[in-house]
Amino acid sequence: MTNSHDHDHDNHFDPMTARVKALETILTEKGLIEPEAIDAIVDTYQNKVGPQNGARVVAKAWANKDFAQWLRDDATAAIASLGFTGRQGEHMRAVFNGPQTHNLVVCTLCSCYPWSVLGLPPVWYKSPPYRSRAVMDPRGVLEEFGVTLGNDVNIRVWDSTAELRYLVVPQRPDGTDDLDEDALAALVTRDSMIGTGFARPVT
């Protein structure tokens, strides 16, 4: 049987591609969106706003005690001083890991995440396994990331149920006293700023 009508949106695309193309077409025809604005948004989160921003914040906190204190006292302002502001980073808090305290960030209700410093969240952060278990069995979740904590290490889970957004400042790796901020930033992973990883050791 041949398809007698010629919907260009549903005969050769997978269902979600077709569905989103249809939506974008309608909205563009109605003048409610401009495809170039979508391009600019995608470019922002693919190339400009991502975990490299958060890594600058953490590296500066490691290198500069005054900045670290500012970050504790007013994270939104301290982070803004490095040029990182805006959507899903309007109200920031920085939480510091220590030898006896490990911080882990989740949003059990949706996918709240500090976009201004980490970019868009990874799939696992938005998915039911992480959102359901991070608050109940965080040690088990961390094992799945290859992170093993001693049972005596306190775990603090931050459930982002409002508009505060949390950035974990991981512990500074040993042997990094001589590194400058650029070199320090290279050790800071995305997961270490969510709490599902550690900063990279010096190789």
């Binding site: 909205l27 409610l32 604005a37 948004i41 502001t85 209700l109 998915s127 039911p128 409002a162 505060l164």
Partner: protein, 219 residues
Amino acid sequence: MNGPHDLGGRMGFGPVLPEADEPVFHAEWEKRALGATLCCGALGLWNIDESRHARECLHPADYYSSSYYEIWTKALEVLLVRHGCVTGEELETGHAKRPSTIDRPALKAQAVPETLARGGPCDRPASEPVQFAVGDRVRVRNLNPQGHTRIPCYAKGKVGAVEEVAGVYVFPDDNAHGRGENPQWLYRVVLTGRELWGEDGDPNLTVSIDAWESYLERA
């Protein structure tokens, strides 16, 4: 609402599966879905609380079988129809059937950097005295509204301590439903693993939630 989105403490979803070197997007349509959602949001016809509520109102079977950008796309369609931007027929055919009656300018590409950098702060000046102080013992009220709320089910009825009085913020339970911003004091409340999960709870676990004042009562 006690919807499918409220996942804290639920079981049966299996292990977390981190993806090594995960790309920002997994398909072209995800880029367009994200961008369309943000562009439509910039029209100012609805707020972030209404969009969150549209997502959590998906049928649980649909919610759990959809990827996150699928959830966003389905909720965006609901919002666009609700606010008169598109019709079901248009979504069905993939083309506009009539001109837009929405008198709002589309977000321009040149305005994107400034718009994203500005964000949407939702703190507001205080107009009511603060009720709780750091260190106060508070119980998360057992509220079960039909509409939007940001009380996670796992914390209801549980007692914790106020760790931070975080300021005054737009109240999502009202804002999601067009009842105004009605800002309230927001508190970070810390609860122990034992309080939340009983005697099998991790003795070295604490969990914090951020709770608006009307979610809490003195314990």
